[in-house]
């Protein structure tokens, strides 16, 4: 296991226990004394990849779409193995319609934008 992974595990374990006062200051001071500060971006990336910390982003074209596609969104969240409560909704009019759900490296893309571009490219290619 690399040093960055070890630090990430310590941080994760601390978060699961419930954060104690001054933990992050102590951790930073410790890393500074050991010359490990440069590992911080790497540790952040490792933590981002942990399943429990993955952001779940639902992208919709407008606010009404969440209601309209609620069952499909729930199904997509199940496919991605994430909890409904953790989702964060982003409104992006460029999606045209439909929705996409992204968690970590997985994505369920049901936006009209992707469908239209795909239809166009398939039609033109022939």
């Amino acid at each position: 296991m690399s040093l960055a992974h070890a630090y990430a595990e310590v941080i994760q374990a601390e978060e699961e226990r419930g954060p104690s006062a001054g933990f992050s200051d102590k951790l930073f001071a410790f890393m500074k004394s050991r010359g490990h500060v440069s590992l911080i971006p790497h540790i952040a990336r490792i933590l981002d990849r942990l399943p429990s910390r993955r952001r779940v982003v639902v992208t919709l074209a407008d606010e009404n779409a969440e209601q309209k596609f609620s069952s499909e969104i729930a199904h997509a969240l199940t496919s991605l193995n994430v909890h409904e409560q953790k989702k964060e909704v982003v409104i992006d009019p460029r999606a045209v319609g439909g929705f996409s759900v992204r968690s970590g490296n997985g994505i369920v893309d049901r936006t009209f934008r992707t469908a239209l571009v795909s239809l166009y490219q398939n039609t033109i290619r022939q």
């Binding site: 790497h42 990336r45 990849r49 499909e72 199904h75 997509a76 496919s79 991605l80 460029r94 045209v96 992204r102 970590g104 490296n105 997985g106 994505i107 369920v108 893309d109 049901r110 936006t111 934008r113 992707t114 469908a115 239209l116 571009v117 795909s118 239809l119 166009y120 490219q121 398939n122 039609t123 033109i124 290619r125 022939q126």
Partner: protein
Amino acid sequence: MTDISIIDRLKKEIDSFGSSNEVQESGVVRKVGDGIVEIEGLGNAAMAEMVRFDESSVSDVKDAISHDDALFGVILNLEEDTVKAIVLGESSRIKEGMVVFRTKKLLSIPVGEGTVGRILNILGEPIDGKGPIKADAISPIEREAYGVIDRAPVNVPLHTGIKAIDSLIPIGRGQRELIIGDRATGKTTVAIDAILNQVNEPKATRPICVYVAIGQKESKTARIAALLAEKGAMEYTIIVSAPASASAAFQFLAPYSGVTLGEYFMDKGKDVLVVYDDLSKQAVAYRQLSLLLRRPPGREAYPGDIFYLHSRLLERAAKLSKEKGGGSLTALPIIETQEGDISAYIPTNVISITDGQMFLEADLFNKGTRPAINVGISVSRVGSAAQTKAMKKVSGRIKLDLAQFRELEAFMQFSQDLDAETKKTIDGGRRLSAILNQNKNAPIPFERQVVVMYAATNGHFDSYAPEQIGEIESKFLSYLDREAKEVLEAIRSSKEISNDTETKLKDAIQNFVATNA
């Protein structure tokens, strides 16, 4: 495309369109530059896997469809947190934050009969403006070469139509013969003449030719395409072009696309000839990519696997066994040297891979020896196993005679008082050298080569000065076409000079010499 056909196609696409809740593996572009994309995510991606860039993830639909085709890349580096891929297209279309999807496929191109006669890019897309290509299959461009058990000995000649090659450094179907020399020594001409000569082969045994232009000027490739079309060679030729203006990724991948197109026909039992013009430029492109991918540089800044780049390409040339269909793929790689230095890194690598090499020298070219092949140091490791009996009979002594001539020619500079025997040898050598000269883009069918070499090596042309040989050869062949066509037919069909044919040939030569004193 008419409005009605667009509507019909769109309806068809909509009917067959299916969106699903399938989870796709994706990553995000973190950096892009110089044709290399660094992608975060894609933790399960495989080496050499194709990835698709979703341009619509960072733009409107209107902007996303401003390009007709989807943008792909090929993963070449797998690192701890990221992967690096080369872009198969304009890297200006890629933006930071763009979503990238795995395709779970290796880079593949369409292959089939529909590619013959066409000019393609490395993705198998036509660039000659003659419409789409109907593919018979899709093949990955990286593939393992056939093993030892699946191969058969190389013993069927591939006639190049060039006397110096077919007589002295004969090439067999399934062989790899390197063409190496400085710039402007006629390397491409030799390769193109080999392609042009296949028009003289019967259709049943005529090889499909693939010309891969790597880093060449587009004007040169266009000229070659026009020449092939003019001579009727485009009917059996495919051109793959990755010009100098193409990205390093395209120039790196072009030879693999070319050999993949050829392998389709080889697997069907046909013969194929693939010309790689030239692999020096592919090596330079690969060096550029490797340095941008931060791979450690080795000798001359080439990456450590530069040998493997060429060896895995050239090993795909083969003569297959009967069980595998009996097809063959002959490779003519071209390497450009600097100042005649054949001991440089890339030339020595490729020399050690191929089954022989022909050295073209600028000095010979400038002296008027064209093709400028130094027959003394050129070699074909297949040798006479790839020659017809007829050619073997007439070419046996030529190399030795020429070697003796070259020694005496050097000696002649120091002394003008030579004995009759030496003068005879020198004149004979000059005549032989003149016989081996040939016009550009004028390949000669093998039976015509045989009769000319027979006349020259058996002393029938001794009464002519070396300067007259070119003209005499032309007149002699015209004479045979008029007066002794059956001799040429007999040699062409039987591929040997029988006693009867030899008698008729001798008579014809004597009659010709008598009337052309």
